[in-house]
């Protein structure tokens, strides 16, 4: 029982990472209707920027906020510069540009900051909260930040005009343009937001997995699994899905004999396919309905 509880909490802790990433995935999916394969690399790059700022002597929270701002601007610039010119190209061409971005960011980060593994500080105390033996302070802090992000996004999308405009631009670009929404800029904003969330996710994840150019590959897949399990249209679902993936991964890794440590990534695959089989729109997502 003790072992079970321990693994469950460890699962929730790693689930927090995936939830963060899943949130960023859903965010960009909501605003551009594509899945961005370079999302993980964008988050990784942002984390390197934070590392650089810290190395220059900025206090943690100032570096934190600066990184978010820089990432936001970076996201907007990428959309305006790279994706606006090929707006009308086929989906597959977009995916190729995502792949190109992936390799550019990865290579650039490795070139600038070298491929050696770096440690990244956590803003939370090293001592576990209330001296409990089950969950570390960083894990709790990470979960808290994910939940705060979720609430902020909820408020933005449900209760502000800007959020409404962004949702309209994603759901029906033509009609949105007709009522005077600047669809292009809404998409750019979506990119900025996704980049900013990715930056937060990266800074929260880096103390756990350490900083290196390839740190995000596996995490992106788990984040994806979380987003798909929860439903690509629902931020709440994505966060819950992220936690679910973390828990399943840990419990299966401990209690299913053959799976062990060898097949952890495969669990994500099985989970994605299983959920998609039963409920293609995810556990919390709305089924896509289109006019014929």
């Amino acid at each position: 029982m003790e072992l079970f509880l321990h693994q469950l909490l460890a699962g929730i802790a790693t689930g927090g990472i995936y939830a963060c990433m899943a949130l960023a995935v859903v965010m960009i999916y909501q605003s551009i209707d594509h899945f961005n394969f370079a999302q993980g690399e964008m988050a990784m790059f942002s984390t390197y920027i934070a590392w650089q700022l810290l190395a220059w002597g900025f206090p943690y929270w100032i570096a934190f906020i600066l990184t978010i701002v820089i990432s936001f601007i970076g996201g907007v610039v990428i959309e305006r510069g790279l994706f606006k010119p090929i707006r009308n190209a086929p989906v597959l061409s977009h995916i190729i540009v995502f792949i190109a971005m992936f390799s550019i960011l990865n290579s650039l980060a490795g070139f600038t900051w070298e491929y050696t593994i770096k440690s990244f500080p956590s803003p939370f105390p090293a001592q576990p909260l209330f001296n409990n033996r089950l969950i570390g302070a960083h894990d709790l802090g990470m979960i808290a930040i994910t939940l705060i992000l979720l609430v902020l996004l909820y408020v933005l999308f449900r209760h502000t005009r800007l959020g409404l405009a962004m949702r309209a631009a994603a759901a029906n670009p033509d009609s949105a343009r007709l009522v005077g929404i600047r669809v292009g800029w809404m998409v750019a904003l979506g990119w900025g937001l996704a980049a900013a969330i990715g930056a937060v996710a990266g800074m929260m994840i880096a103390p756990v997995v350490f900083l290196e150019p390839n740190m995000m590959l596996g995490i992106l897949l788990y984040g994806l699994a979380g987003a798909v399990v929860g439903g690509l249209t629902s931020p709440v679902g994505a966060v819950l899905g992220g936690f679910a993936v973390g828990i399943v991964e840990n419990l299966a890794g401990t209690f299913v004999p053959v799976v062990g440590k060898e097949l952890k990534l495969t669990i994500a695959l099985v989970l994605i396919v299983a959920v998609l089989m039963v409920k293609p729109s995810g556990l919390f997502g709305r089924a896509a309905v289109s006019r014929v």
């Binding site: 792949i99 490795g110 695959l269």
Partner: protein, 342 residues
């Protein structure tokens, strides 16, 4: 009688001609010329370059497989490295553990992949567009892990992989191993491309394209969408599996880490650069994914992949629909030039 000749003449004038030849005639001419060049080329090249060209052809077959699925049937896949891996491992295990001659392992790899693709295609029926891309993406990422699994180690050799022996030219032909494998691959390539052309032009091909363009209408016309979509997955996997099998023979080595997600991405890049849905585009895609990374490395060692990314973006900007769109554009321009001269 005179009237009929008149009609015949206008009919002939109506079929577009470039420089006195019709489009199919040009296609035949270009195909024959390309084949002659392909036959003569290895005689003038060093073994290493012949080996590279063989790899180009192998990638082309794999990309062709992806093209049949994505370009003709409209289903995305980011997981074709998995089928390539299955093909490669089928060949390697058969050759290494059972001593089967290399040419017999090709059909075996093809059949294994056909079944694997068909089986993966069945659940994939429920998925569309992005979701299918995600599921196949997961497949690509999981493949190396599955291959490393200890319970299969007796067969797959675990992380170390399997080393196989390069075959000699048969009947005492005076060819180096690399040259022989080049001609062997070329023969398979021609066979596979011809079969793909036939398939696309056939009744089945039309059904596949109808599903891509409008699944609802296709269903209403009586096309068994589920069957055809799974079949497309199977045939696509067969092509990629045969490519993987050839790849294993030519490289003489299989290991789990050769079949990562990166390989699946390369196939996708080749597909889009060559032109989605255009069969000969697969060759251009194969050339691209073979030589452009090397080129990028020559530009800058440290930033090779950044250079590669920039080249990719430029290619998409210049030819948003790949080489297919580019060729169509050039042919259109030429045609207009010819007709204005007349």
């Amino acid at each position: 009688m005179a009237v009929r000749e008149d009609i015949a003449e206008t009919a002939v004038a109506a079929t577009p001609r470039f420089g006195g030849l019709t489009v199919p005639a040009w296609q035949r001419l270009i195909t024959i010329a390309a084949l002659l060049v392909a036959l003569a080329l290895p005689l003038f090249l060093k073994n290493f370059h012949v080996f590279q060209l063989t790899l180009v052809m192998i990638y082309s077959i794999a990309i062709l497989g992806l093209n049949l699925l994505t370009g003709i049937n409209g289903q995305f896949s980011l997981g074709h490295s998995a089928f390539y891996a299955i093909g490669a491992y089928t060949t390697a295990v058969l050759m290494d553990r059972f001593g089967v001659p290399y040419f017999l392992t090709l059909p075996a790899a093809g059949i294994v992949c056909l079944v694997a693709g068909f089986l993966f295609g069945l659940p994939a029926l429920r998925l569309e567009g992005l979701y299918l891309a995600l599921a196949t993406f997961a497949l690509a990422v999981a493949t190396p892990q599955l291959l490393k699994l200890s319970i299969f180690e007796h067969w797959t050799g675990g992380v170390q992989g399997i080393v196989i022996i390069k075959p000699d030219a048969p009947f005492g032909l005076p060819l180096s191993q690399d040259r022989w494998l080049y001609y062997f691959t070329l023969a398979i390539l021609v066979l596979m491309f011809a079969a793909a052309m036939r398939l696309v032009g056939s009744r089945t091909g039309r059904a596949l394209k109808a599903i891509r363009d409008n699944p609802l209408a296709a269903k209403a016309m009586g096309v068994d969408t589920a069957l055809y979509k799974s079949l497309a997955f199977g045939v696509s996997a067969l092509y990629t599996g045969v490519a993987g099998s050839l790849g294993a023979i030519v490289v003489q080595f299989v290991a789990p880490d050769s079949f990562t997600f990166f390989l699946a991405v390369s196939f996708l890049v080749g597909l889009v650069v060559g032109g989605v849905g255009w069969i000969p585009g697969a060759l251009i895609g194969g050339i691209f994914i073979m030589y452009i990374p090397n080129l990028a490395e020559q530009v800058s060692k440290g930033l090779a992949w950044a250079v590669y990314g920039v080249i990719l973006i430029l290619v998409i900007y210049v030819m948003p629909t790949g080489a297919a769109g580019f060729v169509r554009l050039v042919a259109g321009r030429l045609n207009r030039l010819m007709s204005s001269n007349r």
